[in-house]
Subunit: 204 residues, 2 copies
């Protein structure tokens, strides 16, 4: 059995990947752990330690080959494929996500957006026609969608999350300002601007 | 000199606070570390350890007094006051943040929104008239604003961040998909939906 890699390391891999792609667009072919570290504000030693969990990606003194490391990270993060994503909640945030152009080249494609408001169903959010949330479980299950973004009010979030789990969703990006209870094997990440701001005001 | 408390613990405090307020709205007056742990998906032992860094907040066996712990956490996170926040970038995300109702009772008030697009300046985002980013440094400095949310494209983010630092901003919530370089004493938190999604697809 492979030793489990700490989630905090997994959380840094997308940051490394994003920086490497940025360096690639600047025409760079190789990056030392120092250069990558300066990009992301993480020590070179930490980067080397993190990456060494997954194999030998750099030659001593030669730095990392950027296209190779990008490929490896995409493979490790399982985004060497495109994941279809459901958005639940067609409020301001749901609309902003439906229109966001930054998903497709990072492994995700918004496939569908749901809302339970009859005033919204049938209208558009970005290029998507808003679907009735009443059919959500069935539609997500039929489409085999495993990833969802939850942008409903806090009061509805747990109920919707339960339905997403029932529909087979395994990864939920939750914008509702509430912690979700999900069964083992389902993953939740949280985006809540005040929470992020409060983490900084502590230091001010 | 006080021992520095790990940032990962600081990051959990807003989560505890949010859950405690949720429990309070449900009419609860006390919470055991077990109950709080179930709410947030963190072990009771971890919660007790985290909170003990800041003092003695609970009596053995009696659980935490919710209003008292809420007050203490607000004090520790320095949100027993209201921080004015500048939004830079009046795109979809900037508009969504300008309209977001969840800031004020969590310690923040959007004070101003800037954009450098002449087509947008003078138009409204939520209740705010979009200001010309050309005057940003001066206006932020005059208002004494220390907190900003950055919702500009990645290509402009570092330049804008430099200006925010020049204007006296100490805390930046960065929505642009790029790591920022800021001087010591300036704090950055990142919100980047694909990064959060990639952290979960690793496990699928």
């Amino acid at each position: 059995m492979t030793q489990e890699i700490p989630d905090i390391i997994i959380g840094r891999l997308p940051i490394y990947l994003r920086a490497l792609r940025h360096m690639q667009t600047q025409g760079k072919q190789t990056a030392s752990s120092q250069e990558l570290g300066e990009q992301v504000g993480i020590s070179a030693a930490q980067i080397r330690k993190d990456l060494s969990q997954f194999g030998e990606f750099g030659k001593q003194g030669a730095g990392y080959n950027i296209p190779f490391l990008i490929d490896k990270l995409r493979e490790i993060l399982k985004i060497n494929r495109v994941w279809e994503v459901a958005i639940v909640g067609a409020g301001d945030m749901g609309h902003a996500l439906a229109r966001y152009q930054g998903f497709i080249d990072r492994g995700f494609r918004v496939a569908v957006i749901f809302d339970n408001d009859a005033q919204k169903v049938g209208k558009k959010a970005g290029n998507y026609v808003i679907q009735d949330a009443a059919n959500m479980v069935e539609k997500i299950r039929e489409a085999g969608i495993q990833v969802a973004m939850l942008t409903v009010p806090a009061s509805a979030a747990q109920e919707v999350a339960d339905k997403l789990v029932e529909a087979g969703v395994k990864a939920i990006l939750n914008y509702a300002p509430i912690s979700l209870n999900v069964p083992a094997g389902v993953y939740v990440q949280y985006i809540d601007p005040p929470t992020h701001l409060q983490r900084m005001t502590y230091y001010l």
